[in-house]
């Protein structure tokens, strides 16, 4: 609640401060195709630091591809994807990724704690620093799974597992958290707790939530990205950015339930930061 009151004046000043906002990630004229099947053609958009972004679009609109490009799992054939251009940190130090579906063998012996610890894994090396240990514990608390830490991961419900994967993503204290369809097949209790976690994170990290339901965007959302939408400029296979309404400041954030948010005002990528 405290955060909400700190956040709202920031949002209201949007028109004045735009120019000084830091970029979280930016797609520069990106084209991508699987073989001869084009998914994106010359898309450009960007997201600011600490924004809460919903990525929506129908099945096959390119949400997953966009995610893969952002995560570095696919490379664009044309254009570039920049991540926090103002820092020199590597992609893996910046992103916390929560997958939607995980091909998980239920006989895989691993505890919840070890799954979360995996969030700090590096390309090489096995040492875990004191700071990282503290971050793992903090991530467990933040995702409300610390009481499950010593249970086998396989023994948890689907919703609990998803929250553990959120904790795993948070263990590296990322500047950008990417969640792929976080509420699919989730029980209402876990969903409530997940949104509580996201509410706490809002304003401290940039958050990107991918969802297939364009009507159902949480009240936390600042910006909506629509994949597969026709753009006046880009045309075919584009991504269009919208503002949300009602504005965050008009929504009671203490309510844990979800509010339907409309998104109808299109923001032009070129005009958003310097439209005066």
């Amino acid at each position: 609640m405290k955060k909400a009151s700190r956040q709202s004046p920031f949002l209201e000043k949007q028109d004045i401060d735009e120019g000084q906002k830091t970029i979280a990630f930016r797609f520069n004229d990106v084209s991508f195709a699987y073989g001869s099947v084009s998914v994106f053609e010359n898309i450009s958009f960007h997201v600011h630091e600490n924004e809460f972004v919903a990525l929506v679009g129908a099945n096959g609109a390119g949400k997953t591809t966009l995610l893969k490009l952002l995560l570095g799992l696919e490379k664009p054939q044309k254009g570039s994807v920049e991540l926090f251009p103002s820092t020199s940190k590597k992609r893996e130090e910046l992103i916390g990724y929560v997958p939607q579906y995980m091909d998980f063998d239920s006989s895989f012996p691993i505890s919840v704690y070890d799954v979360v610890k995996m969030g700090t894994v590096k390309g090489l090396g096995k040492k875990i620093s004191k700071e990282e240990k503290a971050a793992i514990d903090e991530a467990l608390v933040l995702s409300e799974v610390s009481n499950l830490a010593h249970r086998p991961y396989a023994a948890l419900s689907g919703g609990q597992r998803r929250r553990v994967l959120v904790a795993r993503a948070l263990a590296s204290q990322p500047k950008l958290i990417v969640l792929d369809e976080p509420t699919v097949n989730m029980d209402s209790e876990s969903e409530k707790r997940l949104f509580e976690t996201l509410r706490k994170l809002k304003g401290q990290s940039t958050i990107l939530v991918v969802t297939h339901d364009s009507q159902f965007v949480s009240s936390l959302t600042d910006v909506v990205l629509c994949a597969g939408e026709k753009d006046e400029v880009g045309g075919f296979r584009s991504v269009v950015k919208h503002t949300t309404s009602p504005k965050l400041s008009e929504v009671d954030l203490s309510a844990t339930g979800l509010v339907r948010v409309n998104h109808n005002e299109i923001i032009d990528d070129r005009g958003c930061c310097d439209h005066d």
């Binding site: 992103i95 990724y97 799954v115 995996m118």
Partner: protein, 272 residues
């Protein structure tokens, strides 16, 4: 006689480490069919080598060299297909499996003085040599070193490959090294338990261990202990009852695994 038995016991200990560590990874990554294809394809290399060396065409082409050649070759094919063209993985794995074996049978049939493929398929722990033991010991050290040094990378890429990749883990390299090590192990272990049995010993001890392990590392330890237990029991049974050691070992291992599975389901049912 006691020398042969001593060799067999040492072989049981050395192979248990490989079966425990590699078997656990094969089990959690669900790549038993990949390991099966590699181990069966090895027969092709052995058959080819037997044919060319016995007929005097290429005298230095030993069965071991032929086995290595086919093991590495099939591992490379499988690696390439699983990483580049996942949807064809099943077909290619089965093709490698069947073609490899067929090549072996064909060459053996045409070898002067006909060699029986079954000795390679089922192995004989009592025929193990000092050289085999030395090679096994070296491979053990390499596998233990890798498993210890790269444990977080191996664990994370086995659990969730995409996440590990996002974290900067070279998951394809981990998979490649694992396949090559499995291929080399299959070749060294085939003299001991035989090609068909290798796959059983890669899955049964780790499968049994999965019922009690709480982490991948403890699964590796339990699987090694079970593997040793199975090999020694198999050895004792084959020695006293005069039966083929490889087959007895696998039947015993399978029996214990099924017992654990049954016990697991009964206790699970009681709880619910």
């Amino acid at each position: 006689m006691t020398d042969i038995l001593l060799n067999a016991v040492i072989a049981s200990i050395l192979s248990a480490i490989l079966f425990g560590i590699l078997g656990s990874l094969v089990s959690v990554r669900r790549i038993a069919s990949l390991a099966g294809a590699i181990s069966h394809a090895v027969l092709g290399g052995i058959g080819m080598a037997v044919f060319f060396s016995v007929s005097g065409r290429i005298p230095f082409f030993t069965p071991l060299a032929g086995a290595f050649l086919f093991a590495i070759l099939s591992a490379l094919i499988i690696f390439f297909v699983s990483t580049k063209s996942k949807q064809r993985e099943d077909t290619v794995i089965n093709a490698v499996w069947a073609i490899g074996m067929s090549i072996g049978v064909l060459f053996m049939a045409k070898t002067p003085g006909y060699t029986d493929p079954s000795s390679y398929l089922f192995g004989n722990i009592l025929l193990i040599t000092k050289m085999d033991l030395l090679l096994l010991a070296i491979l053990d050290l390499i596998v233990l070193f890798f498993a210890w040094l790269f444990y977080p990378q191996i664990l994370s890429s086995s659990f969730d490959e995409n996440f590990a990749r996002v974290r900067g883990v070279k998951t394809e390299l981990v998979f490649f090294v694992l396949l090559i090590i499995i291929a080399i192990s299959v070749v060294l272990l085939q003299t001991f338990v035989g090609l068909v049995m290798v796959i059983a010993m890669l899955t049964l001890p780790s499968g049994t261990a999965s019922y009690m392990a709480k982490s991948l590392s403890s699964m590796m330890v339990f699987a090694s202990v079970f593997s040793l237990l199975f090999s020694l029991s198999g050895l004792a049974l084959s020695w006293t009852l005069d039966l083929p050691s490889g087959a007895v070992t696998v039947v015993f291992a399978g029996f214990v695994f099924l017992l654990f599975t049954l016990f697991h389901f009964i206790s699970k049912k009681r709880r619910t």
